[in-house]
Symmetry: C2
Subunit: 682 residues, 2 copies
């Protein structure tokens, strides 16, 4: 391998021009590039290393985009991207991050969908094939779904498999069997798959035969020639077939001394799933942390400190929670942590899992099962905790509403990653307040520091609590504030709640007034509590708050750069408020609502007597969210009071890797904007 | 069979006291009672007839409630209810309707969950078993899940099966294989199940073996002795096992001349699934129509009139829609109707399905697959329509957000049964506005008569439309208004939209002012448009509107009876508005918003100039819904205008078979209440 074959590949047609021998060289180049990309940039390197040969073989045999290839979850599409005109984004550090970690039609005609959640590729492929078979003028040829890396155990994947056989017609389902899910494979079918591998695909029961599907086994899924032969044999097939390829996740890492030193290749699949960069490329920002949402990030998990804040908020608060629960395991048999995969990223370390024993259950990538399962545990008297990302809880909406909330069973949902962030568009946490907050009978808690977080968890998992609870795990803004000591310096919130725990069955249903002021009351939910305090500080100081934002102080330069369009836009949206200006000092009231499931009418009723404006700030979508309910309360229930309300939060939109400061500015959620808007209505 | 054995059964212990021979008599009595109940009251008679012997055998062998029995969907639990102290509710016409059609812990300790959606029983059973195995003091013995009647093809059911084997420990999964789903079974696994039946359970691939589960086959699932033997053999088993019982749906109907005459027993499974009463029991109201949500109701489907309003709104508008689409099938290959089961109840008749051919796909009970499948069709250029109940679309929340809306594919979701009704708590349509309306990039249309409905469908399925759309199929309130000719008598809405279709890419994004008045503007969304008009009429007449409600004029008696508590409650909630009184005539503006996905800022900005109060009325939960967004708009974007807003809609709560008039009164949604509230703030 001396020539630079990748430089000659700009479309799949170029793959077809290579000699058979060159295919191996191409695979080697891609693998080397992925290894280097992983070290410098990070990403889902392990599964992509395993799928290098399959991607080359797919583009050798099939004619994308006419032949449609759908990558499930699409986190395994790096080699595909490199073969479809995007290689430099993985090879040139200056271009790292210019393509997403998932397929994206905006990038290439070879990507038909934006996907980041698990299990839908077969259903999407059924749709493409259906349209092809309905429309004689359709340009679509073969339809290929690529699924695996744990995705097969996801609910909708089974629905897809079950419908594929019935639909009939050309469809090729490539099942990438790397013997791994994110942590490990879970479920009875994995023993069946192991027997199928051991028997060279001959054994029964064959899971795919059981769904009425034709089947082929490729034992060496990293042999590009074997894969080319297999795909050739099924190209233009007239019925659905599963091509079961056995690949090695992380293949190539073990030959790289730096990888070995970094511990990437240690036979643990979880450590192979998501990779942080070793060497930070100087010319680019690291891959957004959102891509790793719900994914294990190796090298950090084995921290000797059970809850080291430098790991970031997700792992820090997750580890804190697990440590608290672990102390109670011996005496509370029904205290069970349920994780529908991706434990590592939520601070559920391997050591914890081993120590927890039967108090920990990894159900695989099965959010629906996890919620219903927990509801069963709770109905039988236990106090289970289901831990996953806000974006993944979406998959169990119906079970959260029906099996959990309608049935009123005391399960605790620990929701990680809620709120605004630089996440990609498939993993955004901007929708969680509305998602959870409008379900009847579900208590939704939003702690504003670790002390409140653990207090809420302690209560929700106690026998005192008899109904379902979701706890929005604090984000980085809270963690930064805690480190800076500005979260609740006087301990007012904790003291107020402590007093209530003693004499109330629900200690979190009433808001806490952290500071009693007048004219303006600012209520900041969860992570937005920090911004609420900063707005109050700016009002009290009589300045315009230009140097503050939700997460941290912005540089003047970035502030000014970001401000322009956003502020103007917000002005227009907000009806032409006057531009921000300094003014007389205002001693505002600051309120921590603690929760977003009910309106604390009693507290709200007291405000108009001494306040002209009530401001709400939330770290998520306004529409359907929380703050507008407070506005509606005053409009409907106290119309005579004439109190003005202002709601700050995110627009109803999808965003894709927009940095947080830009988002906050876009939504008018800087201290300066909020101060200006408040002064404009006073 | 002469004695009345059922009268001697008040608990499962009584089943155990019978002789073996008496078990057959008991089954015969239950079957006779179910047949009579079905004729007089209606219900899921077919599947329950098939499960009579299994329920008797379960209670003969197992010791409920210590042994926990979880019925999937729980629509097959009638015989179980009759054996656990609730037989009279099925035998005494005066007591019909006093128990629900689903399991309910409020009714009996033998019911552990309220369930009405499909596929979660195995996961719930895993939870019960987990808690039992964690807690030495648990009273739970055997854990039994009863699943079948089409439920096995549901996504979460597979997740449950896959996790059951891994969990281990005692669990008995009774698979009721009646060879049927609601319409018919769909999917590749049904051929596998057929081979398993034909081979007396010996064939491979065995679907359950593929999931790592032990397995037993009972060929005659209506032989109570065979079932008792089978259950005895697995009682206290130390690992999960599937007991596959082959039953006959509707068994007993063919021996009943009246049934035969009514066409219940015609070898068509769909006609057996849900049964309307033949003879209306005089002493009780019919079983709420909500129980049949999404279920086929035989005897009406074969109407010679393609869209007969007497069938009710669901079928009427569904048939209208299908008739419109059908005309276009020949010329539009990508126009495909996708039904995740339950087609009959949505007016998708068997005749239509047969004529539609490949333009109709029943995917089985698989909402997630159906939405992703449709997204695939649309991505490939088609214009699919997915038709099901609002309550069932909940199951595909993540696919609607990710595969559909994030990807922006032009699928039309036809959502039936949205809005307030007397539905049971598992099938309520009260949450659909918030469910759909807060998803970015999803256009949400709420037609207020058939003309608008078909216009919207025509647009959403045309090539002009390039993004996903949900259409809230009009409900009975709209149909009644259409029949009475009061929906849009002057044709103002239709004319306005007609004008826009010609020159706008999105003809439904702007509200239509149906009547220009002053002081008060009333915006009624979808079905609530009728109530909005009636409020305007009452204001114009200067009366207090006491005789009007959303659906129909109530009798004075029922109005007064219902009014008391509800009105008082609303008063308190609404902050002590003055009691209703007649007043000066007010010529209010009446506005049809057409949609609930965006705020029509331009129209809203014009209102304050000539209106003091803007009123919103919606047919669903206020929190997270639509009207409060308009309140928030005025508060945030026109604070200087000082316009007052009032929002009418439902509370955030679960309701169970509360009649619509009572609900409307509870929520202050009568003409009288709304008029009074408006006059109070003027």
């Amino acid at each position: 391998m001396t020539s630079d074959l990748l430089a000659t590949i700009s479309t799949p047609a170029d793959v077809k021009r290579l000699t058979a021998a060159q295919l191996e060289d191409l695979c080697a180049e891609i693998r080397a590039a992925l290894l280097e990309f992983g070290k410098r940039h990070g990403g889902h390197i392990g599964s992509n290393l395993g799928l290098v040969e399959a991607c080359v073989a797919l583009h050798r045999v099939f004619d994308s985009p006419a032949d449609a290839i759908v990558f499930d979850v699409s986190h395994q599409s790096y080699a595909h991207k490199m073969l479809t005109g995007r290689a430099e984004a993985f090879r040139n550090a200056a271009l790292f991050g210019t393509v997403t970690g998932f397929t994206n039609p905006d990038e290439s005609e070879h990507d038909r969908f934006v996907l980041g959640h698990t299990g839908t590729s077969v259903s999407l492929a059924c749709g493409l094939a259906k349209q092809r078979d309905m429309d004689d003028s359709s340009a679509i040829g073969n339809v290929v779904a690529v699924i695996g890396d744990g995705a097969l155990s996801s609910a909708v994947a089974f629905e897809g498999l079950n419908n594929a056989a019935e639909q009939g017609g050309n469809m090729i389902i490539v099942f990438n069997d790397n013997e791994m899910s994110i942590a490990e494979n879970h479920g009875g079918m994995y023993a069946t798959l192991a027997r199928m591998r051991e028997s060279n695909g001959e054994s029964e029961p064959n899971l795919f035969h059981a769904f009425g599907l034709d089947y082929m086994y490729v034992p060496d899924g990293n042999d590009v020639h074997a894969l080319v032969d297999a795909f050739e044999s099924v190209r233009d097939i007239d019925h659905p077939i599963v091509v079961h390829i056995h690949t090695t996740k992380g293949l190539g890492m073990d030959t790289d001394p730096e990888d070995v030193a970094h511990g990437y290749r240690e036979g643990r699949c979880e450590a192979n799933h998501w990779q942080d960069p070793i060497v930070q490329a100087s010319s680019t920002s690291p891959i957004p942390s959102s891509e790793g949402v719900g994914e294990a990030q190796p090298g950090r998990e084995e921290s000797p400190h059970p809850a080291d804040p430098s790991q970031g908020a997700r792992k820090f608060y997750g580890q804190l929670a697990m440590a608290e629960l672990e102390q109670r395991f011996a005496g509370e048999p029904g205290l069970v942590v349920v994780s529908p995969a991706t434990p590592g990223s939520n601070g559920i370390t391997r050591e914890f899992r081993e120590r927890a024993g039967k108090h920990y259950v990894d159900t695989g990538i099965t959010e629906e099962h996890a919620v219903a399962f927990a509801s069963g545990i709770a109905q039988a008297g236990g106090r289970p905790v289901v831990a996953t990302s806000a974006t993944f809880f979406q998959r169990a909406y119906d079970e959260i509403q029906q099996e959990l909330s309608l049935n009123g069973n005391p399960v605790t949902l620990l929701s990680f990653g809620g709120g605004l962030s630089d996440a990609d568009n498939t993993h955004s946490g901007a929708y969680d307040i509305g998602f959870f907050g409008n379900i009847p009978n579900l208590t939704c808690l939003a702690p504003t520091n670790r002390r409140m977080f653990l207090k809420m968890l302690d209560w929700s998992t106690s026998l005192t609590n008899t109904s379902p609870v979701v706890i929005r795990v604090p984000g980085q803004t809270i963690l930064d504030a805690e480190i800076a000591g500005v979260d609740d310096p006087a301990g007012v919130v904790a003291a107020a709640v402590d007093a209530r725990v003693a004499d109330r069955s629900h200690p979190f249903d009433r808001y806490v007034v952290k500071h009693h002021g007048s004219r303006v009351a600012i209520i900041g939910l969860g992570d937005a509590a920090i911004l609420a305090q900063r707005v109050a500080d700016a009002l009290a100081a009589g300045n315009d708050g230009r140097q503050c934002s939700l997460g941290a102080v912005l540089s003047d330069e970035s502030f000014d750069r970001n401000l322009g369009a956003g502020a103007t836009e917000r002005r227009a949206f907000a009806g032409g408020h006057s531009p921000r200006e300094a003014g007389e000092p205002i001693e505002a009231s600051v309120i921590d609502p603690l929760q977003f499931s009910t309106i604390d009418e009693a507290t709200l009723r007291t405000l108009p007597a001494s306040h002209d404006v009530v401001v709400t700030i939330e770290d998520g979508q306004l529409e359907g969210g929380w703050g507008e309910k407070i506005t509606a309360f005053y409009a409907n229930c106290m119309p005579e009071a004439g109190v003005k309300t202002l709601n700050f939060g995110a627009r109803k939109e999808f965003t894709d890797r927009v940095n947080l400061a830009s988002l906050l500015d876009r939504y008018g959620m800087t201290v300066a904007d909020i101060v200006a808007d408040i002064r404009a209505v006073l």
